[in-house]
C-alpha cells in the first residue's frame, strides 16, 4: 500500500478514490461521527438511523452498491427527523471482497479490499472522534444517552470504547429472540489520527490503536443487532462453513439462526423470546422498554467473545 503522511493511493490507480487523511489538513474539531458502510440495509435503517442521529454530532453513510433503495430510505429517514445538516451520504462504487476467504486473498491497497474501503470511509470523517457502526445495529434508549455523553467526554483522551451488542432475530412484528448466551464485545469508538487507521486481518479489517490507549467497556444493553428470520443473514460471507475457533461469533450466529428456524429456540441455551404488547413493534419494544427493565447481568454465561 502506498502510504504517505497525507493519505493512501490504491493499486488500481483510481485517483478519484485515493485517500486523504482528514487530520493532514489540520486539527479536527471536537465531536463524534458515526460511519455506516452499508449494502442493502433499507429494511433496517428506519430503526437504526434515528437513535444514532440523536446520539452523535454527525453521521456518514457510505453506500456500497445497494439495489434495495438504501440511499433513498436513508435520505427520507434523515429528512423526517430533521437532521440533514448533520448527515453526509456518499457512495463507494467498487465491489468489495466478502469477509473470510475472499478478503484474505485481496491486497489491502486494492479498492476491492475491506481494509481500503474502511480507510476510505473513515477519511470522510471531520470530527476528532469516530465510530464504526453497522447498518443493522439499533441503539437502545440508554445506548443513545451513553453515546451522547461520550461524544463530549472523550475529548482529548485517546481512549477507545467497546460496546457489547446483543443479536436479536426478528421472527415477526411482535416476536423476537435475543441471544443472551454470549457476550459479543467489539471496540466501536476511536479517536481519529494516524495511529487509528485500518489494517488487514485474516477475515476482515482490523482497526489499529496504540497500546497506550485506554479501553472503556460500555455496559450491556446499549444496542441490539437485527437479524431477520426470513432473510439470508450470511450473504456477505464467502462461505457459511464457519470455523468455531477462528470465527466463533459467526458460528454462534448461524447456530442460533438454525435453532429458531427449526422451532428449537426455546431450548437453545441463552436464547430469550420477547413478545411485544399489541400495537408495538418488537424492535421498538426491546430498545425502548424491555432492555431497560431487564435484570442485569443480561448475559449470564461467563463466555465472552471479543472480536
Amino acid at each position: 500500500m502506498t502510504r504517505s503522511m497525507t493519505g493512501l493511493r490504491n493499486r488500481e490507480g483510481d485517483a478519484a478514490y485515493d485517500i486523504t487523511w482528514p487530520w493532514s489538513e489540520g486539527p479536527l474539531p471536537d465531536g463524534l461521527t458515526c460511519v455506516f458502510r452499508v449494502k442493502n440495509e433499507a429494511r433496517n435503517l428506519p430503526w437504526v438511523l434515528p437513535p444514532m442521529l440523536e446520539a452523535v454530532q454527525h453521521v456518514v453513510l457510505v453506500d456500497n452498491g445497494s439495489d434495495d433503495g438504501t440511499p433513498d430510505v436513508a435520505r427520507e429517514v434523515v429528512e423526517r427527523v430533521g437532521a440533514t445538516d448533520r448527515f453526509t451520504q456518499t457512495a463507494y462504487p467498487f465491489a468489495v471482497s466478502r469477509a473470510g476467504a475472499e478478503h484474505l486473498l485481496t491486497p489491502p491497497d486494492s479498492v476491492h479490499s475491506l481494509t481500503y474501503f474502511y480507510n476510505w470511509s473513515f477519511a470522510q470523517v471531520r470530527t476528532a472522534y469516530s465510530m464504526k457502526w453497522d447498518g443493522d445495529m439499533v441503539l437502545t434508549h440508554e445506548g443513545v444517552e451513553l453515546l451522547r455523553d461520550l461524544s463530549w467526554q472523550l475529548r482529548g483522551s485517546r481512549a477507545v470504547v467497546a460496546i457489547p451488542r446483543h443479536p436479536m432475530t426478528v421472527e415477526s412484528e411482535s416476536v423476537a429472540w435475543l441471544d443472551l448466551g454470549f457476550r459479543f464485545l467489539e471496540p466501536w469508538v476511536y479517536p481519529m489520527g494516524p495511529e487509528f487507521t485500518f489494517v488487514k486481518g485474516f477475515e476482515w479489517e482490523v482497526r489499529e490503536f496504540p497500546p497506550s490507549s485506554e479501553r472503556i467497556v460500555a455496559p450491556e444493553g446499549m444496542c441490539v443487532e437485527l437479524k431477520w428470520l426470513d432473510q439470508d443473514e450470511f450473504a456477505h460471507w464467502s462461505s457459511t462453513d464457519f470455523d468455531a475457533v477462528r470465527t466463533p461469533r459467526k458460528a454462534r450466529e448461524i447456530a442460533v439462526h438454525r435453532a429458531i428456524s427449526e422451532g428449537r429456540g426455546d431450548s437453545f441455551e441463552g436464547l430469550r423470546r420477547v413478545e411485544a404488547p399489541p400495537g408495538v413493534h418488537v424492535i421498538d419494544h426491546v430498545t425502548g422498554t424491555w432492555m431497560a427493565a431487564a435484570t442485569r447481568p443480561l448475559v449470564k454465561r461467563p463466555d465472552s467473545l471479543e472480536v
Partner: protein
C-alpha cells in the same frame, strides 16, 4: 417519556442548590432519606440524601477528581465511571425502591413520590443517574440554579482555581444536560419571589408536586426560602483572578443566565457556550503548560513521601546519611 420524575439539582456548592432543592422539598418533593444533617454549609439542611453523597464521595475518590475540579480532563475520568455497568446496576437498585408509593397525609393515600436528588458532585455523574433513571422508567429532569460566580467564590481562598472550577463545572454541566428535560433558574429570582420561577419550572418539567401544590405546601416554602438566605454579596472587586479567566467566567455567566429566560435554551446559545468551553480548555491547557514545573515538583515530592518513613529526610538526605 415516562410521566414519573426525578429532579437532579445540578450546580456547584454555594450556587443556590440547597435553596432550590430545599424549596422543592418544602413543596412536597421527596429527598430520599436519610438526609445529610444541617451544618455550616446549609443551616436549614442541604436537602441531600446521605446515600447519594456517600456514593459520589466514593466515586470522586476512585476517579481522583475533586468536587470543585478545574481540569477539563476530569470529565473523562468521571465519565468512565458513569459508563460502568456494575455501577449503573448499583445506582438502579437504589433508585428503584425510592419511587415506591409513600403515604401522603394530605391525600390520605399512598402516592408515588417525585424525587429530588442534590449534591454538589452530581454534575460529574449525570450519565450514571440518567442510565439508572431509564432502567427504572422515570424521566430525569435537571435543574440548575444560576448565581453569579463572584458571589459563589467570593471571600474564599485560592480564588483563581475556584473561579476556574466554577467555569469548568457550569459549562460542562450544561453540556451534560443539554437535550434533556431541564430548566435554569436565577438565584436572585428565586429569593425575590420564588413562586414565579418555581411555577415555571414545575410547568416546564412536568412536576406534579408543583402543579398540584396546595396552600399548606406553599406556606412551607415561604418559611423555608427568604431573602436572608443570600449570605454572600461579593462582586468581581472581591475576586482577584487573571483577566482572561475573569473574562471567560463573566461571559459564561452572561450566556448561562440567558438559558433561564423563556425560550432561552436555544441552539445559538449552545454554540456560544461551546465556544466558551473551548476557550476555557485552551486557557487551562496554557496554564497547565506554564505551571508544569510546579506539578513536576509536587509529583517528585509525592514520590519521595511514598518511599516510606525509613528513608532519610532533610539534612540527612542532603548529606547522603
Amino acid at each position: 417519556m415516562s410521566s414519573r420524575r426525578v429532579v437532579l439539582v445540578v450546580g456547584p456548592g454555594r450556587g443556590g442548590t440547597s435553596a432550590l432543592a430545599g424549596g422543592l422539598q418544602a413543596l412536597g418533593m421527596r429527598v430520599p432519606p436519610p438526609e445529610v444533617p444541617a451544618g455550616d454549609r446549609a443551616a436549614r439542611g442541604p436537602a441531600e440524601s446521605q446515600w447519594v453523597v456517600d456514593l459520589h464521595t466514593e466515586l470522586l475518590g476512585r476517579a481522583n477528581v475533586d468536587v470543585a475540579d478545574a481540569r477539563p480532563s476530569a470529565w473523562f475520568e468521571t465519565g468512565k465511571l458513569a459508563a460502568n455497568g456494575l455501577l449503573r446496576t448499583r445506582v438502579t437498585e437504589w433508585l428503584g425502591p425510592q419511587l415506591a408509593p409513600v403515604y401522603d397525609p394530605e391525600k390520605d393515600e399512598d402516592v408515588e413520590p417525585e424525587l429530588v436528588l442534590k449534591d454538589p458532585a452530581i454534575a460529574w455523574f449525570v450519565g450514571l443517574w440518567k442510565g439508572a433513571a431509564i432502567r427504572v422508567d422515570v424521566t430525569p429532569a435537571y435543574l440548575t440554579p444560576l448565581r453569579h460566580v463572584a458571589e459563589v467564590v467570593g471571600g474564599q481562598e485560592r480564588p483563581s482555581v475556584r473561579t476556574a472550577a466554577w467555569v469548568n463545572v457550569m459549562l460542562h454541566g450544561e453540556r451534560a444536560t443539554r437535550g434533556s428535560l431541564r430548566a435554569f433558574v436565577r438565584y436572585d429570582d428565586l429569593l425575590a419571589d420564588w413562586t414565579v420561577p418555581i411555577f415555571r419550572i414545575g410547568t416546564e418539567l412536568g412536576l406534579r408536586t408543583v402543579t398540584e401544590a396546595n396552600a399548606n405546601s406553599m406556606r412551607n416554602v415561604h418559611h423555608f426560602l427568604d431573602p436572608d438566605l443570600r449570605r454572600s454579596q461579593h462582586t468581581w472587586a472581591d475576586v482577584p483572578v487573571p483577566a482572561r479567566l475573569r473574562e471567560i467566567a463573566e461571559e459564561s455567566w452572561q450566556a448561562l443566565t440567558g438559558l433561564a429566560e423563556p425560550g432561552g435554551d436555544t441552539d445559538a446559545r449552545h454554540a456560544t457556550l461551546d465556544s466558551l468551553r473551548e476557550a476555557y480548555v485552551e486557557l487551562y491547557e496554557e496554564a497547565e503548560g506554564i505551571a508544569a514545573s510546579t506539578a513536576d515538583a509536587a509529583r517528585r515530592e509525592g514520590a519521595a513521601a511514598s518511599t516510606g518513613p525509613d528513608q532519610p529526610k532533610g539534612l540527612k538526605r542532603l548529606l547522603g546519611r
